[in-house]
Amino acid sequence: MSQYTGIAPRGDLELLRKFGEKLNGKSFLHVNSTRAGGGVAEILNRMIPILKELGIDARWEVIGGDERFFDITKKFHNALQGKLEKFSEDMWQHHFEVNKINAQGLNLDADAVLIHDPQPVPLVEFRRGGKWFWRCHIDLSDPMVEVWDYLSRYCNKYDAAVFSVAKFAKAMAIDEFIVTPSIDPLSDKNRDLSEDEIREAVERLGIPLDRPMILQVSRFDRFKDPLGVIKAYRFAKKYNDCVLVLAGSAATDDPEGETVLNEVKENAADDPDIHILLLPPFSDKDINALQRVSTVVLQKSLREGFGLTVTETMWKGKPVIGGATGGITTQITHGVTGFLVSSVDGAAFRIRQLLNNPEMTKRMGANAKEYVRANFLMTRQIRDYLSIWYAAENKGRNALEL
């Protein structure tokens, strides 16, 4: 915790210490569906050791499943974000059965349990006491009704639900908290890098630095609109010479990634200035280096849960051109910490604007970094989870004094 002194807000650190005292020795279990790839695993990798240092008995369990299970849950993911998918009764049944098998092998006994996203949501049927919270990281503002109806049968059995932004929350029978995700400023993805570290990574990845670099870091997923980014880059390149880097990793629970990657490669085929990097999981330092050397960073998502890549980039003192969707709008104050865009044309315009105004880029980047410090560091998110737990144990009171 002392490593965060001078980085995280003092008040957050003080409150964490106080929660550590109040909740000392109590157990806090997190469950999700992948230990590698994607934002949730990334957060948990950092959060669990911090919770332990506070004196909380924190654990992280991962459910397993067959290929069919992950196909079904990917369809859930798409359907919850508005895409039409076909479902059948046996798919719901399979989802439940896989969770039932997992419940038999997992230790679900804890004072507080946080279940992440739809994959493990039926585990609540097997709870053994303690406070149970369902944490949804995806955009639930316009879900396919059939899927939400199915999942909400489980969700409403939790003590509370947690969403990333208010627009994702649904009208549920339980308390719904809004907790934005966060980054760890000390992780390899976000810590300061030396010039040597940056140069080594960029050279190894084969990225030229002789011209401005446009970057988007994300999974190869249609909701991240990589083809739209290529279009915006091509439009901007008519006015400003630059290179484009699309960098992403595969998540073990995303079967569509390879299809989208191939689409992107096909689209970019004849342009030597478009670099497509499929990075292995945990390429944190490489992503860190790319974000630091880039001139312009995009996150042109069409739908987005929260968009941690935006937070990471802002922490490096760079303004982001973000799709005006989901949690991106919570992070980017248009014209102050970045730009919000709703089209390829909008993205191309802002790329040109940032390429041509380095002073403005620097000023917005500084604003962006301070905004992340105050609102989106790991210490704040842990503070919020512990606050929810503490509030659940003091239910009915809307003002608590420690």
């Binding site: 807000p9 003092r10 008040g11 957050d12 003080e14 409150l15 106080k18 503002s141 316009d142 969403f163 208010a166 627009k167 929350a169 649904k170 009208a171 549920m172 308390d175 719904e176 908290f177 809004i178 907790v179 005006a324 969707t325 104050t333 102050v336 905004y371 105050a374 609102n375 503070r383 919020d384 606050s387 929810i388 503490y390 509030a391 009171r397 809307n398 003002a399 608590l400 004094e401 420690l402």
Partner: protein, 225 residues
């Protein structure tokens, strides 16, 4: 009895969704009518903790201006001072009056684009001491420079609801600790006079530091160059 040391506290707000939203003005009206007192409090008094730009003074005005693009309405809503009202009921009534008046002139409100609805939230507030105490003005000056904005918000903004009469915790401490000292009374008045709507929390910090520093220098007998 006057508090001897100033104990710095801070508050954080845990946001809770109410599940209610509005996509146009009539729905906003209905939402304000039916929202809990906690929700109205959050969208008005707690606006400044979020670190917004100073174009607006509450979430309703912000949404009217940015999402609905009803600039005139946003100006009317921004003109409301929640600290002028004795209770939430009075503030709620005034909000509804302002919207009602506007709807009389523009009875067919348009809808916002999907995703830009107004979401009615509430909060659970957690207050905690930050581990800093000031026994005198010099220590107070050092502390105010370094406390988080959340602590400034608690003592300058939240105190106004807690103490009433436009008082903040800083002014109260100056007046109570140095009962017979005119310079401290004047300092208290100066702090109380800082317009809470016209500055960011960091600007308020600068104003408080500047005002306190002036008095500390006088107390130390420092002659300005």
């Amino acid at each position: 009895m006057a508090t001897e040391s100033f104990v710095f506290k801070q508050c954080i707000n845990l946001i809770k969704s109410t599940g209610r939203k509005a996509k146009q003005l009539r729905e906003l009206y209905a939402g304000i009518e039916q929202a809990s007192d906690d929700s109205i409090y959050h969208h008005t008094y707690q606006y400044f903790l979020k670190g917004h730009l100073l174009e607006y003074t509450n979430d309703f005005a912000h949404w009217a201006g940015e999402s609905l693009e009803e600039r005139v309405l946003s100006e009317h809503l921004s003109a409301l001072d929640p600290y002028e009202f004795a209770d939430i009921a009075g503030l709620r009534k005034k909000l509804l009056e302002v919207i009602d008046d506007y709807l009389e002139s523009f009875p067919e409100p348009r809808e916002v684009t999907p995703g830009n609805e107004f979401y009615f939230n509430e909060t659970i507030t957690i207050v905690f001491p930050v581990g800093i105490k000031a026994r005198n003005l010099a220590e107070f000056l050092i502390a105010v420079r370094y406390i988080d904005s959340g602590s400034l918000y608690y003592h300058f903004y939240e105190a106004r609801s807690r103490l009433g009469s436009g008082r903040d915790d800083f002014s109260k401490w100056f007046e109570e600790k140095w009962v017979d000292d005119a310079s401290k009374k004047e300092l208290g008045e100066k702090i109380k006079g800082i317009d809470p709507f016209m500055h960011t929390i960091e600007e308020i910090r600068e104003h408080v530091v500047s005002a306190v520093e002036e008095v500390v220098r006088k107390d130390m007998g420092i002659i300005p160059l």
